[in-house]
Amino acid sequence: MSLLEIQDLHAGYGVMSILNGVNLTMEAARIGVIVGPNGAGKSTMLKAIFGMLNITEGFIRFDGKDITGINSEQLAKHRIAFVPQEHNVFPTLSVHENLEMGAYIRRDDFSRVMDHVYEIFPPLKDKRKQPAGELSGGQRQMVAFGRALMIEPKLILLDEPTAGLSPMFMSQIFDRVIAINQTGVTVVMVEQNAKQALAIAHKGFVLAGGRNSYTDTGQNLLNNPEVAASFLGG
């Protein structure tokens, strides 16, 4: 059975409709990548899953339960985490406090998870007392990631995790995505760096005009000449 199932989703801001019937299914412990031109509704898609805008039609199912339009606290309890593209850390809180906030809904002992996050992102351990706002872009991205991992998510949504990062950091982030996925976490990410992202994807979705244009494995999409011509810059 699929972990995440989205059917015929229509959503937008106010009266402006951006998604016009998108379908997406993800199996557990896979990496899914959403690519497409600007304004195709990629980020909107993630925000819609995360209940941040009006859904006018369609439904979202997670683990067999309907989660269409529920609030973010409930989503966190379903162990779905979201990492926004920008403004994704609490700048005056220390790295450690950022991670603690990630575990806000947990009332149990989460020190083991915290250790695990520091293991995945060693640079954070040295800076744990430093305000997150003072870190470099790449390190902030790590904090944002780590924060999302604190609820031990089953599904993690990443909005352009490599935007604005240097190529070196980019491949580091993709390595982490693979590592996180290997612990059994399903990842759905939106990416501008489509080629690199599709290379690590089990499944790729090409959106255009708020609809699916192609859905296939990452590798097949990369090899598909039509996709390459129209969406991957040749």
Partner: protein, 331 residues
């Protein structure tokens, strides 16, 4: 040495006292500003409201014939703080929350808070009249005279002043502990930092809003009570106290409780020292000066005291709108 004693009594003590009041008020305003994102114009009248709650409870205690080593008003202040905090949450639910939920612009909520301040003003004066009232119902306030070496006059400090300074220190330490150690305190800082991310993270915004009003309301009550104990309970404080508190908030940087404390003392001391009569301090060195000392030499005449916080505010807005500490302008 009498000059030094005069300076301590009229400059240092007075600055500390009014600075503490401003700081206690500004902590609440800055947290409301940081978390709910609007300037709370009803804060001054919330202070008065709290002081009246204390007065009512003090009268009740006094009528029971209770005697205590500390002034009754100080004892009554703690339950009054709880009541004021509760009322603050009620006001939020009745007047601000519906607008917030409807997605009103922050400035509309600012206006609602102006409406609330008028309602509070009207109610307080309707029931209590406009005259000043003494908070010391059971006994006159105690005055400590501390001899100062080499001076014939003592350093004077009154009991409510000691209580005020002690309370401010305890409140600041407790607040620091709360904001840096407790889960809810950290969540408050998180919401103040980035409300959208806080929501994504699953932080319960309602709890954070309640905590904000509890802290803001309780500290407003304490500030109002302690100010009234130091002088008298004046029901017409409102805008006159609001302006310096806003100045302290903006000087300290919005959403920054420590900045608000520093800002409160800064504004308090500036105000006190601006109206301080420097000529008394300079008198012993008159023979070194090239000019005749006037009888009164204050930077600002007392009737223009309100100019001081306003000028501080304006200068900060022109040159450092994010506050003099590490702050930010909320967009």
């Amino acid at each position: 040495m009498n000059e030094v004693v005069f300076f301590i009594n009229k400059g240092v003590t007075a600055g500390l006292i009014i600075g503490s009041i401003y700081a206690l008020g500004a902590i609440g305003v800055t947290m409301i500003f940081g978390i709910l994102r609007f300037a709370h114009f009803a804060h001054g009248d919330m202070m008065t409201l709290g002081a009246f709650m204390t007065l009512i409870l003090t009268a009740a205690l006094a009528s029971l014939g209770i005697v205590w080593p500390v002034p009754l008003a100080f004892i009554a202040m703690f339950p009054a703080m709880a009541i004021t905090a509760f009322l603050a949450i009620g006001i939020d639910r009745a007047f601000y929350r519906p607008l917030r939920m409807a997605g009103a612009r922050p400035v509309v909520i600012v206006m609602a808070s102006v409406g609330v301040t008028l309602m509070l003003q009207g109610l307080i004066r309707l029931f209590a009249g406009v005259r000043g009232r003494d908070m010391f119902l059971e006994a006159p306030k105690e005055i400590f005279r501390i001899p100062f070496p080499g001076a014939s006059r003592p350093v004077i400090i009154t009991e409510p002043q000691v209580l005020l300074i002690a309370f401010t220190i305890v409140a600041v330490v407790a607040l620091h502990w709360f904001l840096t150690r407790s889960r809810l305190g950290k969540a408050m800082r998180a919401v103040s930092d980035n409300p959208e991310l806080a929501q994504i993270t699953g932080i319960n915004t309602n709890h954070v809003v309640w905590a904000t009003w509890i802290i803001g309301g309780a500290l407003a009550c304490a500030a109002g009570t302690l100010l009234s104990m130091d002088v008298t309970l004046k029901p017409d404080l409102s805008f006159n106290i609001l302006l310096p508190i806003f100045a302290a908030t903006i000087v300290g940087g919005i959403g920054q409780p420590y900045g608000a404390i520093a800002g409160g003392f800064l504004v308090g001391f500036c105000e006190t020292l601006a109206v301080f009569n420097w000529s008394i301090l300079l008198r012993p060195i008159q023979h070194h000066l090239w000019f005749e000392l006037p009888a009164s030499m204050a930077l600002v005449p007392t009737q223009y005291k309100l100019m001081v916080p306003f000028l501080i505010l304006i200068i900060v807005l022109i040159y450092r709108p994010t506050g003099i500490f590490k702050g930010r302008v909320l967009a």
